[in-house]
Amino acid sequence: MTDVMVPANPPFRPSMLIYDRRYRSMTFQVIVFILVMALAWWLVNNTIRNLAALGKDFDFGFLWQRAGYDIPQTPIPYTSDDTHLRAALVGLLNTLIVSILGCIAATVVGIIAGVARLSNNWLIARLMTVYVEAFRNVPLLLWILIVFAVFTEVMPPPNAFRGDDPAASMILFDHVALTNRYTAIPTLAMTNDPGSLDLGARITISWATIAFAVALVAGWIVRRMIAAWAQRVQDQTGVRPTTWWASLAVMTVPSLLLIWYFGLHLIPPTLKGFNFTGGLNVQNGLVALWLALTLYTGAFIAEIVRAGILAISRGQSEAAFALGLRPGRTMNLVILPQALRVIIPPLISQYLNLMKNSSLAIAVGYMDIKGTLGGTTLNQTGRELESIVLMMGVYLVLSLIISAGMNLFNARVKLKER
């Protein structure tokens, strides 16, 4: 008998839909599909009936109506005569401002605290442990409220800075004034203003900003090219040319030249009458939210950094030393690439959390997208469904963009296994 008996496929019976593994998953998926569709139909049908009963419709036309409310802090020009759409855009920009500022500051705080917690110094390590545990185990809302209360209750009113012998004084060489209504910080000004690029809809970007962005990007690209050249030379000759001064120069010199060309300088706030003018008066809601988010997220980032450093076994640095690498190169070539693989994914999800937590701005009256679109606009127009759906969509898009970035990174540094 040379040929193997192949069992003929048994004829199909209905019971095979559940007992045969080939069909069972199909059966199950079809059932799930039907149930999900039924649920969706039920929800949509209910919504339609409810809207009809209330005499409402599902229409985003209200976004083009006059908003009629003021926003204390607007990164783009906005008046109460503008549309709800523009108010929502202002809110979105405010969300982005506090998120980005928070991410930057939280990273700095987190790295310092995480490294300090591993320090040999007993006192510093204990202090950082207290910081991390205190912030991780208490609701963020509490920190926001406390920081905000510090600003509104403890800080002096602006007129306390008046007179020859004022009750309060400015900090940072007379550049910043902390008052109970706002924080006055210096603004940037240019003696040689190149004007602005008009993007339409009264949104403008200064040419100077564009010039700095171009200078930085170009400097970064040139730096990459210098590094690639150094690598080529090293591969051919075995000696790596010294490049740090060239890298530093291409990164900084164009910006310094631009600063000199535009005559960029700081204008500190000065007290005129009862208020500070000349500088930028930042609403305390923003400052309190930013500080609280920074300290809270910083505590989580500290733990991530600590875990990332601890995850690299001592053998790795010992092996690098045995190969004759200097400590700096050991850090750059051996420790950091491995530690970053552990650190970056949770770090980015902390950024995501920070962005979502910035919606707690309603606790301090900072008008982010929750405060404009999901707050005043919703209350004024009575369009709960549209406002909340739109707001959730905005948050969802922001998160998906950040997650997509994280997935790209993960795919690049992933360990290959079978």
Partner: protein, 484 residues
């Protein structure tokens, strides 16, 4: 030998020298200081910096803490006492607000004569948790249960609980102590019944409601047994459909009819009377209990081979994780009425619990998925090689290990969720942190008191969350099966 040696060498020491004391700088406190605080220039600078920070904090806040007042009727009273005791211009903490408003912070606006009911529910919670949480060590279980028994009964007696309920609580608590000595797993029956009992104790009303809810699974089981002989497929479908039909169509009427025949009602308490830590703990415990199973199901679905199941799980998880909890809470408070049949209303606390559960289940699913992915592939392959089917492999081999790996993540999700219960303030519920402190400040006697309520609430949250994280560390050590 030794004689020749003695002739060539003038002196040989034949006793050991007593060991010399180490130099002062290498011993005791000095050595510790040198090693831990002043081991180099950088460390010395850091130490000085740290001392300065500590000194700054102590010098700014010590007098405030030292001048604490615990007995006063109002903030002005507090300030008067501080000024009288420590002189004009002295600062001091007025903890009297915590003392005076303690009940409000703990029970919200719950009727004071019924305070014993949440207390009893909280005490019995430890019985329900005993087989799940404290099953690792006999000693800990004994201590926890004994403490819960004594404290619950004492507090209930102080709060004026009726004698019948005192006997009931004593019977359950002492019974649990005795049963757990013999066979702790029997307490699982109580753990399964506890959610319904807890709801009844907290909200009151007729006991027939929870009983009729319980009838659903019983009917399902009966249907399964009856039809099991005919066809397994029909039996499975019936076991799922019968309880659903019972709950949706019959349970409400059955509970009303039964109530009209035999009344089993205790005074009902509306949801708007809930507040303070009672509200936080109710939402937190319910969310924790429901989000773990839901998270496991979602994690398994996301790793499933079935395309549709996987896609749905991904959409659900990414959607929930992509929006802030506040947005979901607003959906619960504003939009849910749109999605339900016209005229349906249901309790705001229940809506919030559902949203909080869904929110943390999505995070839980990602944590557990991490645990599943971290298991070596060999474990899955070994389960297949043993011929286990999918559910057996998950239940016996994969999940026990994956859940053990994910304990830190699971507990930190729990902690995050418990902290997030403070956000219910934005949908008009009385959380202890913002709404309750605002309510306290709204009275004329405590107008303008900021720090003490915040610090008090923060301290309680810290105790609970820190306790949870320490417990998870302990559990991790207990469950570690490698490198011992």
């Amino acid at each position: 030998m030794s004689e020749t040696h003695a002739q060539t060498v003038p002196f040989v020491r034949d006793t050991m020298l007593p060991p010399a004391a180490p130099p002062v700088r290498e011993a005791g406190a000095v050595r510790w200081l040198r090693q831990n605080l002043f081991s180099g220039p950088l460390n010395t600078v850091l130490t000085i910096l740290g001392v300065l920070i500590v000194w700054f904090l102590v010098s700014h806040f010590w007098d405030w803490f030292a001048h604490s007042v615990w007995n006063a009727d109002s903030l002005s009273d507090c300030r008067r006492i501080i000024a009288e005791t420590w002189g004009e211009g002295a600062r001091g903490a007025c903890w009297a607000v915590v003392r005076e408003r303690w009940n409000q912070y703990v029970y919200g606006f719950y009727p004071p004569e019924l305070y014993w009911r949440p207390t009893m529910a909280f005490g019995l919670l430890f019985v329900a948790l005993a087989p799940v949480l404290f099953s690792e060590s006999v000693m800990i279980r004994r201590v926890v249960l004994a403490l819960a028994t004594v404290l619950t009964l004492w507090l209930m007696a102080v709060m004026g609980a009726p004698a019948a309920w005192l006997v009931f609580a004593a019977a359950v608590l002492v019974g649990a102590l005795l049963i757990s000595e013999r066979q702790p797993s029997w307490l699982l029956v109580f753990s399964i019944l506890y959610p319904l009992m807890g709801v009844w104790f907290l909200w009151g009303g007729s006991a027939w409601g929870p009983v009729m809810v319980l009838v659903g699974p019983v009917l399902g089981w009966i249907a399964w047994r009856l039809l099991g002989r005919a066809s397994a497929l029909v039996a499975t479908v019936a076991a799922l459909v019968v309880p659903l039909v019972w709950w949706i169509v019959f349970a409400g009427d059955a509970a009303r009819d039964a109530e009209s025949i035999v009344s089993l009602a205790i005074p009902a308490v509306a949801s708007d009377r809930f507040g303070g830590f009672l509200l936080s703990i109710t939402i937190g415990v319910a969310g924790i209990a429901m989000s773990l199973p839901l998270g496991i199901v979602l994690a398994l679905a996301r790793r499933s081979d079935m395309f549709l199941v996987k896609t749905l799980a991904v959409i659900f998880i990414e959607f929930i994780r992509g929006v802030p909890l506040i947005a979901l809470l607003f959906v619960a408070s504003l939009l849910l009425n749109y999605f339900l049949p016209p005229g349906t209303t249901f309790d705001i606390i229940l809506r919030v619990i559902i949203m909080v559960t869904l929110f943390s289940a999505a995070y839980m699913a990602e944590v557990i998925r991490g645990g599943l992915a971290a298991l070596p592939k060999g474990q899955y392959e070994a389960a297949d090689a043993l011929g286990l089917d999918y559910w057996k492999a998950q239940r016996l081999i994969v999940l026990p290990q994956a859940l053990k790996i994910s304990i830190p993540g699971i507990v930190s999700t729990f902690i995050g969720m418990f902290k997030d219960t403070t956000l219910v303030t934005f949908v008009g519920l009385y959380d202890p942190l913002k709404s309750m402190s605002d309510a306290v400040r709204a009275s004329t006697s405590w107008k303008g008191i900021y720090w003490e309520p915040y610090i008090f609430v923060g301290f309680i949250f810290f105790l609970i969350c820190f306790g949870m994280s320490r417990y998870s560390m302990y559990l991790e050590r207990r469950l570690a099966r490698d490198h011992r």
